[in-house]
Symmetry: C2
Subunit: 111 residues, 2 copies
Amino acid sequence: MNISYDTPQLDMVLDALANQKRRGIIHDLSLQPATVGQLARNHDLTLPAIHKHIRTLENAKLIIRKKAGRTNFVVLDGGTLGLAQNWITQYHVTWGNPQATLDNYISRMQA
Amino acid sequence: MNISYDTPQLDMVLDALANQKRRGIIHDLSLQPATVGQLARNHDLTLPAIHKHIRTLENAKLIIRKKAGRTNFVVLDGGTLGLAQNWITQYHVTWGNPQATLDNYISRMQA
DNA sequence: ATTAAAGTTAACTCATTGGTTAACTTTATG
DNA sequence: CATAAAGTTAACCAATGAGTTAACTTTAAT
């Protein structure tokens, strides 16, 4: 029962990834850092709208932000994705055809 | 711009994973198939409640369901998690300290 | 033939989310 | 100094999500 893997941060990370716009932002940031305003323009979002996404990503520690003057720069912290990757890897098993497994299981249960 | 990776199914998969109860269900099913009722008891959920989670997982093709008499058996389709894994792997790069990368980027921008 | 079990469906509630506009703060520029 | 730029914050709104209870269907058991 490896439930200890399911931490609040994993929860925040997966929550952050469950949104196409935020995944788009992550994609952008995987190429290079950017400012909040650049990301807004790049994704057709108003500043308040992008601000919320940025905060969601920041809370999950998927990005790091730094203020320089009045400009806010943002960088991807790709390492944090490892949390999600680890969780998924645990369950991403492919041995066997699930259909067949299920049929087999049902047969056994009925016997 | 590898946006083609961001398919409706990926969206459904990540959405399904962004919920602790559903991740718990996946964990259970990684050990063995189960019935809808067993999952409900196992996760302190009423039948209508678990039914919605099951449907979410089924729509994402993370599980396969089969009816035997009045009992509904469910099995994990672990392969589908590969979709999420692939997406994450694209961006799970760890070269370099993001802090340093950001500082460096800001310096270059200001020059 | 009744009754119970296992789900499903429908209708509803409450909280959360993603977006909006408007007002504000801080930093830069003419 | 006045104005604009770059964000932030607050207040609001519509849609979605996760849960509920109640009614229903289908299959099994007495």
